[in-house]
């Protein structure tokens, strides 16, 4: 099981992790399904990364919880994070 380290200050807000995550789960691209979410406060220039590990049944109808990229050689969100805001512990 992979353990993610999150460095929000390095995040550029490109959301490649969201796209990659949805691909891992469903082989489609849909950031709103992803197990993590990049929140951009554009007026302030602030970005935060939210990881969804545990979701209620109601929430699971909206998005999918992180399964630590089961079956992948490395977490896809880490793989596509060129800025290294997401790394493996």
């Amino acid at each position: 099981m992979f353990h993610l380290r999150i460095y929000s200050d390095k995040c550029t807000g490109c959301r490649a992790c969201e796209f990659a995550c949805s691909y891992h789960h469903r082989k489609i691209f849909n950031p709103k399904l992803a197990s993590l979410h990049i929140r951009r406060a554009e007026r302030e220039g602030e970005i935060s990364i939210i990881l969804y590990k545990d979701l209620s049944e109601a929430e699971k109808r909206q998005r999918l919880p992180c399964d630590h990229c089961a079956g992948e050689p490395e977490p896809l969100c880490v793989k596509y994070c060129v800025a290294a805001a997401l790394t493996v512990a």
């Binding site: 796209f19 709103k32 220039g45 596509y80």
Partner: protein, 643 residues
């Protein structure tokens, strides 16, 4: 219901602002001849806007286009095109921007939005997946782009929707108004914000929850990984990742790319350049790097100013354009002032390149005594005074006093004022040019001048000629024996034609030129994009076929320009100043463009396109080879087809 094509949102959204009706058409009817994005935008524009329609009439169209790869993990696929008949040139108005708007629109199920007509009152369009509404915008009319972004998100109760909007400049039909997304990303050139304003359309807000599926997911991801890796290790991309586009001002200066006092020279006092070194912006003002949808280059940055007259200023920016437009043109050497001017353009919704062009022209008029304080609402236009530049930007945005004249752009303003000021109004086809061409690469200059959208470097201009590329690479990528450095005129027409095609492809796929071999020969070329396109859509295509589609798109824009604006060979020359007045100082002293060599280069350029040398017009053969027979018929009927 018919299944949507792979890698597409599936629909073209039609909005008639006069009647308030909206409807959808399947995108399938428009593909694959013009690819997507800019290609489909401009084919719709060509077919639906007649030559006698003027830019601000309701019959003009305003078209948003995503790209085929937008909404996938294809690197940099974050861009949208915006197209209309241009109030700057009277020909093709075509701008392009990154941001999160494009992907969101696709996730809502739309590849394009086509606006027609004019609303009786200010409105904005709200797209919430398949629910589409025109909402009252009277409470937002008059607001800046940042305020508009805030108010719409508040209205709709969601601070993560994506908004494309105009500021006061677009509302006031300032000819160089832009359309802003994410508070700072501008579809800048050609005055498309003014077209939006003429339709009483303040903004487009979108929330999309759908998915994009590609035809062959495993194969697609394999190609994506290869492309991603190429960009990750590329030297050119790494430099941009570190600095953004604002970098190496001293090198720009030595090469004659920086024009102080509105192109009176092409060398800025090095002391000024030292005061605005990129290291200073990074050290004192940058708080983070920024990127948009799936971009491994993230060339943007967020700044905060905590001291001095602009304390409290926080915004995204700046770009290399700020170096040319504010630092060099007006000799402004205060970094926070540069950040402020950049931010003002975004807030007013003014294209920075065009607006600073018109203001630069006014400064030179003042220096020469053509405009005086009495004409300028009491202002003294002294070089290096950033406060006057800021005040003139405000006046332009609201068409107040002298701003009403400047809002017409340097060309029109100079024709109104006269007194020989037309001679130093720097524009191409009516649109302000940001670059001097005396010291620049000759291929760069040609690409800027023959650009279908008028005076800009995002069509056929190239960076490669200044990079020292081996003859092997020249042969392999561009099919030319060699490149002899930037100031040589040899083989440059080939480069221009190549990049015109490639840029049309990039803008139709929705990817950024910075990931392509435009930015460095180690980056992605037509074959790479063809692989991405094939795996995403399921329609197999070669790099060569993709470039032919690019040529088709370029040709429909050319035909639009000939039919609508009457452009011909005489419009494909650089501003006279760059031929007559040599550079006065610095390492490039004495350089200027040669009219004779330009003629040779232009002849070669037309020949490569299959266009007529005397008129620049297209031939029936060239158009029919590109499957554009109806375009040839239109031109023939208008007497504008080459014999």
């Amino acid at each position: 219901m018919e299944k949507k094509a792979f890698s597409f949102g599936g629909n073209v959204l039609r909005v008639d602002l006069t009647s308030g009706l909206t409807w959808m058409e399947p995108t399938k009817g428009y593909i694959p001849k013009f690819l997507g994005g800019r290609g489909i935008d401009n084919s719709i524009l060509y077919n639906e806007v007649k030559p006698w329609v003027t830019p601000f009439e309701p019959a003009n169209r305003l078209i948003f286009g995503t790209g085929i790869l937008v909404g996938t993990l294809a690197p940099t696929a974050a861009r949208h095109s915006l197209d209309a008949k241009s109030p700057m040139t009277g020909g093709i108005g075509s701008a392009n921007s990154c941001g999160h708007f494009s992907a969101e629109l696709k996730f809502a199920g739309y590849d394009h939005i086509v606006f027609q007509g004019r609303s009786r009152r200010p409105v904005y369009l709200w797209i919430d997946d398949k629910r589409v509404k025109l909402l009252d915008a009277s409470h937002i009319w008059g607001k800046t782009t940042g305020e508009t972004d805030d108010l719409i998100k508040e209205d709709l109760g969601d601070d993560e929707i994506q908004v494309a909007c105009i500021g006061p400049a677009g509302e006031n039909l300032v000819r160089c108004s832009c359309v802003i997304t994410n508070r700072a990303r501008a579809a800048g050139r050609c005055g498309l914000g003014a077209v939006m304003g003429s339709k009483n359309l303040k903004a487009v807000a979108v929330r999309g929850s759908g998915s994009i599926a590609v035809a062959y997911p495993d194969r697609f991801m394999e190609i994506v990984n290869k492309a991603w890796e190429k960009i990750r290790v590329s030297e050119a991309a790494t430099t941009r990742r570190k600095w953004g586009t604002y970098r190496s001002p001293d090198l720009y200066n030595e090469r004659g790319h920086l024009s102080p006092r509105y192109f009176q020279d092409d060398y800025v006092n090095p002391k000024i350049i030292r005061n605005v070194d990129p290291e200073i912006f990074k050290r004192d003002y940058e708080v983070r790097r920024l990127g948009y949808s799936v971009c491994p280059i993230y060339c943007s940055h967020f700044y905060k100013v905590t001291d001095g007259p602009f304390a409290g200023l926080a915004c995204e920016g700046i770009e290399i354009n700020d170096l040319l437009n504010f630092v060099a043109r007006f000799e402004i050497d205060s970094p926070p002032a540069v950040i402020k001017l950049h931010s003002l353009c975004n807030e007013y919704g003014l294209d920075q390149d065009n607006s600073s062009g018109a203001i630069g022209w006014a400064f030179e008029c003042y220096q020469r005594g053509i405009l005086t304080e009495a004409d300028l609402d009491g202002l003294s236009l002294k070089w290096s005074d950033y406060r006057v530049v800021a005040e003139l930007l405000r006046k332009m945005a609201y068409r107040e006093g002298i701003g009403d004249l400047l809002a017409e752009g340097a060309k029109r303003a100079s024709e109104i004022i006269g007194k020989d000021s037309e001679k130093f109004a720097i524009h191409v086809k009516g649109q302000d040019s940001i670059e001097s061409m005396r010291g620049s690469g000759r291929g760069w200059a040609l690409g800027c001048v023959v650009s279908t959208r008028g005076g800009t470097h995002t069509r056929g201009a190239n960076l490669i000629e200044g990079m020292g590329v081996s003859s092997d690479v020249c042969q392999r990528i561009w099919g030319i024996p060699r490149l002899d450095g930037p100031l040589s005129y040899e083989n440059k027409a080939n480069l221009v034609v190549y990049y015109e095609k490639l840029q049309a492809v990039l803008d139709s796929l929705g990817v950024c030129m910075f990931c392509s071999n435009w930015a460095g020969s180690d980056l992605l070329g037509p074959d790479d994009f063809a692989e991405l396109y094939s795996a995403a859509t399921g329609n197999e295509i070669t790099g060569e076929e993709l470039m032919t589609a690019g040529e088709r798109i370029h040709n429909i824009e050319k035909a639009f320009n000939v039919l609508h604006a009457g452009f011909s060979r005489q419009d494909d020359y650089p501003p006279q100043r760059f031929i007559e007045e040599p550079i006065k100082s610095g390492p490039m002293k004495g350089e200027k463009l040669s009219r004779e060599r330009w003629d040779d280069m232009l002849d070669e350029y037309y020949k490569l396109h299959g266009w007529d040398r005397a008129t620049s017009w297209q031939s029936r053969k060239c158009l029919e080879d590109l499957d554009l027979k109806s375009v040839a018929d239109d031109l023939e009927k208008a007497g504008l087809l080459a014999r």
